[in-house]
């Protein structure tokens, strides 16, 4: 059911039947250390390269997410997801190990939001079970977007740390004490002209603000309808900027949080916080899902955010467009 301009509510119940998280070694020392289902002891994870490790991460997370609720991958209707690496190789390659139909998606770090929106729509329709999975890896992202790992460069104060980790969820029609995907607001690409690839929070905040404000205008809800509004990877500065932008539009987001800014502890000195396509899926599967199940959170607005840049577009002087999708997740009353 369409509400307003960009918001859709699902008529049927779409449950998040299972979730599984795998965190990298650095992330496992961060603020969510008690919540991760599994932790990698090193970055390469006994693989030939970091790219191979990211493939293995997704394969592992999808496998564990399904085996946790005794679902055979072959019984799933589709696996969908993405990552940040060229031609979404980690996601596509991980899918070759499952005899399940596959759809690759890309919305930069907002891919998990995109996957949940599409996945829940499919399950709202004729699909029974849909797996959504995204990942990111510090080493693969550094090499693609920045410099070789061993190059002695200095990070700027606005830069963020790409999260090594992966999270998967199983969307299904199966009833139970699971969180429900109620609906979503699809964001549009917003570009305020920022072109500093070291300040992604600033580039993505306008998109997040646009999506969140549109969601409230479409639904007539106010921010306090939700226990928590949680964005993907804006970082500390991006979160403050989003707060400021939403306030200008007349919405005070007191319950605003950000997966990226929460990821690392102060002592880890990870700049503005975490980023990457795996950042929000990891926090969702590790932390938010568990908090929803145990009842400490009832209604959340989950807003993965993405910066749609490539290394070439940045070098060619293009500004950085941002995107954000808002997914409404609630526990059944």
């Amino acid at each position: 059911m369409k509400v307003g301009k960009q918001t859709y509510f699902l008529d049927n119940k779409v449950y998040i039947q299972s979730a599984y998280s795998l965190a990298g070694p650095y992330e496992s020392k961060g603020n969510f250390r008690e919540y991760f289902d599994s932790v990698m002891e090193d970055d390469e994870w006994k693989c030939k390269s970091h790219e191979m490790a990211e493939i293995e991460m997704q394969r592992y997370v999808i496998g564990e997410c399904l085996s946790r609720v005794n679902v055979n991958p072959m019984d799933c209707d589709v696996i969908m997801g993405g990552d940040l690496i060229n031609q979404i190789v980690p996601t596509s390659f991980s899918a070759r190990d499952f005899r399940t139909p596959f759809m690759g998606l890309y919305n930069a770090c907002a891919t998990f939001g995109e996957a949940m929106a599409i996945g829940s729509t499919l399950v709202n329709g004729d699909f029974e079970k849909v797996v959504c999975c995204t990942s990111s890896h510090y080493a693969t992202a550094e090499r693609q977007y920045r410099y070789p790992l061993e190059l002695g460069t200095q990070p700027t104060p606005e830069s963020q740390w790409t999260v090594t980790g992966s999270g998967a969820v199983l969307l299904s029609k199966k009833q139970g004490n699971y969180p429900l995907v109620k609906g979503y607001t699809i964001g549009r690409v917003v570009d305020f002209g920022l072109s500093d690839p070291n300040n992604m929070g600033g580039a993505m905040a306008p998109a997040a603000s646009n999506t969140i404000v549109t969601h409230f205008r479409d639904t007539g809800r106010s921010p306090d309808y939700y226990d928590m509004i949680i964005t993907g990877d804006l970082g500390r500065f991006g979160r403050e900027t989003l707060h400021y932008l939403a306030k200008k539009e007349g919405y005070v987001l007191d319950n605003l949080n950000d997966c990226g800014s929460l990821m690392y502890s102060e002592a880890q000195k990870a700049g503005q916080g975490g980023s990457g396509a795996g950042c929000c899926s990891l926090v969702f599967a590790a932390y938010l899902y568990k908090k929803l199940i145990d009842g400490s959170l009832k209604k959340i607005l989950f807003v993965p955010t993405g910066a749609m840049l490539s290394k070439d577009s940045a070098l060619q002087g293009e500004s950085i467009p941002g995107i954000a999708h808002a997914v409404v997740i609630e526990m059944e009353d």
């Binding site: 030939k48 410099y147 070789p148 061993e150 190059l151 990070p155 104060p157 002209g193 500065f237």
Partner: protein, 148 residues
Amino acid sequence: MEDKQYMEYIHTHAQKSNHALTLVWAFLVGGFICCIGQAFRDIFEVALPNWDEGKIAALVSMTMIFLGSFLTAIGVYDKIGMHAGGGSIVPITGFANSVVSPAMEFNKEGIVLGMMAKMFVIAGPIIVAGTVSSVVTGLIYWIVELIK
């Protein structure tokens, strides 16, 4: 909200680098690397009394390049660079780091098209700029000599 207004907000609110601190770090670490170089020079001069100055200078450069490469290979140089910034980029050890780090990074794509092809992605511009500027300097020198 206007784009211009937003840019202004970003410029006034974004955290700035602490220039005083980064300058001090760069000065100290850069100076320390140069002191090590000088120490090697003094040692070589004593140890190899028959070598002329040019040979000693080349030996010092080679030693420093080896040290920069070695510290890159064992994963230490990037940690120094994290604090030192320009202090560890400008000396010749930084040049070694900029060649060895992509060589290590792209080794996985094979020796020829990976390591050998990508070895100079960072250092390439420095070599081009160095060559071009030395040609220009040479031309100016030549013209000045002609006029004289």
